[in-house]
Symmetry: C2
Subunit: 340 residues, 2 copies
């Protein structure tokens, strides 16, 4: 499960990420293209050297942020004209540019440039986006120069089963080393997402990794693993950490709550992370209320540990063919009521 | 040299502080009294346990922040009525309360409650503050209950030599284990401060530590050590770090500067801190411009290392009786021009 970054993972050092169980990180092409610029990252030896991160890195194609963050988008057959959300400057990224930028950044896994559609969107619109996504995937393959990066294809198709099938059937012959499910976690409910995964995953090769982009909550991950998904990325552990929402073996807690003001217990007595083995809930609450930088860091360490522990548990369960049992056990603990 | 804290040192973990060379930290009584409250810290085993910091801790008396941060102060013979800068709530701290709070916090070195005067202030006003500071120091001794904390006296007297002498002469017979110079670093120029230290330090016992509160720049510390000062505290390394101003062996640099955008060099090639041994100036600039939390942390690690290295160098120079030579060497390097 890659942990996201614009050049660092929310206050954590690489050494700490490794200690927390993180093995791969995700870097956002859009952000790094705008600042500091892929040319600068390249001249400094690529992302691994720039960030001092020795493990694998995945970059997204930039497409999702172009659609979600930038202004005045104008989509043509070659790509997207957009204005930077930072300073309004004008830019263009298409499949060719997405390959150039991602090759300069130098991640281990890179992604095709796709057209992301809003949700909901009508069938005709999604159909044209699927067709463009296929053409763009082909252009990515043509423009790709480096042979030491794994380029994953992204399946689109909104919530329409026929379009998901069409997208998958068009991408699979291109023989990407991995396939992502894009266009999910965009506001649809869990049941819809579950259905779309179910209706798509069968068209993807069994022997290649399937990556569900932007998902999600622990329960979403468990359900998707049961469906056959292999990879995830999500801001949830880090963003929640910064908002004071912390995952525990007995469900989420908000560390702001006054009930923790004099609570001597560790955040999660069952957890072995640095935060839980060194600090009380009262201290974490104090740091958070005082807006001390250490609050965000200790909370992030804990939430990442929780997610990495979940992923490790799922890996073990997969090997034992006990994923559904693992899920039931997880839900039972989460629902048995919080601490105290 | 204690490094300041309201419950954490600006994003750094205790483990990191030790690695950076920090041996003692300063905690602000005023801040911890207001939030989370000294009762809560006490119930959680005192500051050492609360913060998971095993080294020595110094607490100030709260006086300085009461005068500088709070609103609607009303000084009486027993202490100061004030309103919290956080929520306007009404509070009272005098010498008795300062001892109670600092005993609950449980630091190793605690400070007498003094009257801090603004600068400039007329002789009559400063005289009355000196007399009150003496009476309050005596009250602190009377109300002190714990025997495992070293209570330091604070010499006041503004910039008036006769009042500094009077304050020192009144406090020395009380036989405190250490003496602080208060009421400096309040806006006076370096020469005035140098003169006041010179005119005061001779009245303090040679065999007890002298602590210059709130100072300062590296050059201020060197000059004060030459004058015989033993201890310092200052926000400068941590506050500057958060503003992107970084100390190096060749002078200060602002990491925001565009000249560092593609600079592959470490911040200070002569430095052995974690930041300088892992990252380029270009990466530090990127993190700072992107407001990544890791920026503040890596900058703070570096600036603390710089200060701790300075202090270690001064300790060695004292043992060799070469402090003035050390100072000359330091200035020469600082003034030979920055990098590139």
């Amino acid at each position: 499960m890659p942990v996201g970054t614009q050049g660092s993972v929310k206050g954590l050092s690489p050494h700490e990420l490794v200690e927390t169980g993180v093995r791969i990180i995700l870097a956002n092409t859009y952000h790094l293209y705008l600042r500091p610029g892929h040319g600068i990252v390249d001249s400094l030896g690529g992302l691994h050297n720039f960030m001092s991160w020795q493990g694998p890195i995945l970059t997204d194609s930039g497409g999702f942020q172009v659609y979600s963050l930038s202004r005045l988008r104008d989509i043509s057959e070659d790509g997207v004209h957009f204005q930077s959300h930072l300073d309004g400057s004008r830019h263009f990224i298409g499949p060719k540019e997405a390959m150039e930028i991602q090759e300069a950044l130098g991640a281990d896994i890179i992604m095709t440039f796709d057209e992301c559609v809003p949700y909901p969107a009508d069938h005709e619109y999604v159909l044209s986006a699927v067709e463009r996504t296929t053409r763009w995937a082909d252009m990515c393959l043509q423009h790709k120069k480096r042979n030491d990066q794994a380029l994953f294809g992204i399946v689109q198709g909104g919530m329409y089963p026929d379009l998901r099938e069409k997208s998958a059937r068009e991408l699979v012959p291109m023989d990407f080393p991995g396939y992502a499910l894009g266009g999910l976690s965009v506001g649809e409910d869990s049941e819809t997402r579950h259905r779309v995964i179910e209706e798509t995953i069968g068209f993807l090769p069994e022997n290649k990794p399937v990556y569900l982009m932007g998902v999600g909550r622990p329960e979403d991950i468990i359900e998707a693993v049961i469906q056959g998904v292999d990879m995830f990325d999500c801001v949830m552990p880090t963003r929640n950490a910064r908002n004071g929402t912390l995952f525990t073996s007995k469900g989420k807690i908000s560390i702001k709550n006054a009930r923790y003001a004099d609570d001597k217990e560790p955040l999660d007595p069952a957890c072995e992370c640095y935060t839980c083995t060194h600090y009380s809930r009262a201290y974490l609450r104090h740091l958070f209320m005082a807006r001390e930088l250490l609050a965000y860091r200790l909370n992030t360490i804990h939430n990442l540990w929780f997610y990495m522990h979940l992923i490790e548990g799922l890996k073990t369960a997969i090997k034992k063919d006990q994923v559904e049992e693992y899920g039931r056990h997880f839900y039972r603990r989460q629902n048995q009521g919080g601490f105290k």
